[in-house]
């Protein structure tokens, strides 16, 4: 029976499992490829077909997924990591991981605008090792001297220890307390009449803030140009509580509003 190019058993060129009957300028056989190869169009071949290592065309399920070789030509899917993670290598293959050292991540930037005496940064994520709050351009709306305090978790009780060194121009003083209601950061904030070109700055470090087993060490250093004199404070204190720190408050103890300043909160790994 005539069947065109459809081979009969008698005239079929197919001899081995997986052979394909194809065509170039005449009928031709294409032998099956190696395991895990795929049939693709290839105009350089006489039949226009070839078995090749599979390309990246499957396995992706989620936005951000990537494909990598888990072993030789074996493909694997790498699901997208979470925010802040970086691509790294573990056991010879790629993976997403939270940076383990040396990284500062900006969590928040808040600017005060003479509407309140206190800035509270709340709902701080517990995903970092340490916290660093940097304040720049700090000024009180008051006419007199007044400190800037830092407190955590809204605790205004005498639950902090403090050792504080203060320099006004070149005069050094200091004190310590085993029971105080906050950590001194500034000595004297720039007053409302002080030059906007030389306001205050502060850096507040809170170590192991997410720990639920340690008291929290707080180191604060700050200074300003206050009423014509340079003033600088270095404080080391402890919040005598093992709860994780979830909020940080900056308190103007001058009796007036926080007139100006931007506070940048960093997570630190």
């Amino acid at each position: 029976m005539a069947t065109g190019r459809v081979p009969t058993t008698a005239n079929s060129p197919l001899t081995v499992k997986g052979d394909l009957f194809t065509f170039s300028t005449a009928s031709a056989k294409l032998a099956v490829g190696a395991n895990d190869t795929a049939l693709v169009a290839d105009s350089t071949q006489s039949t226009g077909l070839a078995y090749k290592t599979k390309g990246v065309f499957n396995g992706l399920t989620t936005t951000g997924d990537t494909i990598y070789s888990s072993s030789g030509t074996t493909q694997a899917r790498l699901g997208i990591g979470s925010t802040g993670q970086v691509l790294t290598v573990a056991s010879g293959v790629p993976s997403w991981a939270t940076p383990s050292s040396g990284g500062l991540t900006v969590i928040d930037t808040s600017t005060v605008a003479n509407t309140s005496t206190t800035l509270t940064i709340s709902s701080i994520p517990a995903t970092y090792k340490h916290l660093l709050v940097v304040g720049v351009g700090l000024q009180t709306s008051g006419a007199n001297d007044g400190d800037l305090f830092v407190r955590v978790n809204g605790d205004s009780g005498n639950n902090y220890t403090l050792q504080r060194m203060h320099i006004i121009t070149s005069t050094v003083s200091g004190y310590g307390s085993a029971s105080i209601s906050g950590i001194s950061c500034m000595g004297s904030m720039a007053r409302t009449a002080d030059s906007a070109a030389s306001l205050g700055e502060v850096a507040i470090y809170i170590y192991n803030y997410a720990s639920t087993s340690d008291y929290k060490a707080i180191i604060a250093q700050g200074g300003s140009m206050n009423n014509g004199a340079t003033t600088w404070v270095s404080s080391r204190g402890t919040w005598r509580n093992t709860a994780a720190v979830t909020s940080v408050s900056l308190v103007d103890a001058n009796g007036t509003n926080l007139k100006a300043g931007t506070y940048i909160t960093y997570g630190w790994n």
Partner: protein
Amino acid sequence: MAKITVKDLATGEMYDRDMTAEENEAWLNDVQNAKDKEAAEAKAATDKAALLAKLGITADEAKLLLS
């Protein structure tokens, strides 16, 4: 009543609210402590100047004596 500016990192919201009575009391205590500290530092400076005048020496000469 004094106000607090709250930045809630869970929602991204920033808003002002009145202090609670407890917060206000704590803050007033801070203000008083700051005033007391300022007064104490001013008194210490005045006392120091008076003592130097009584001794008839300068601050630098006093440092030299203590070095």
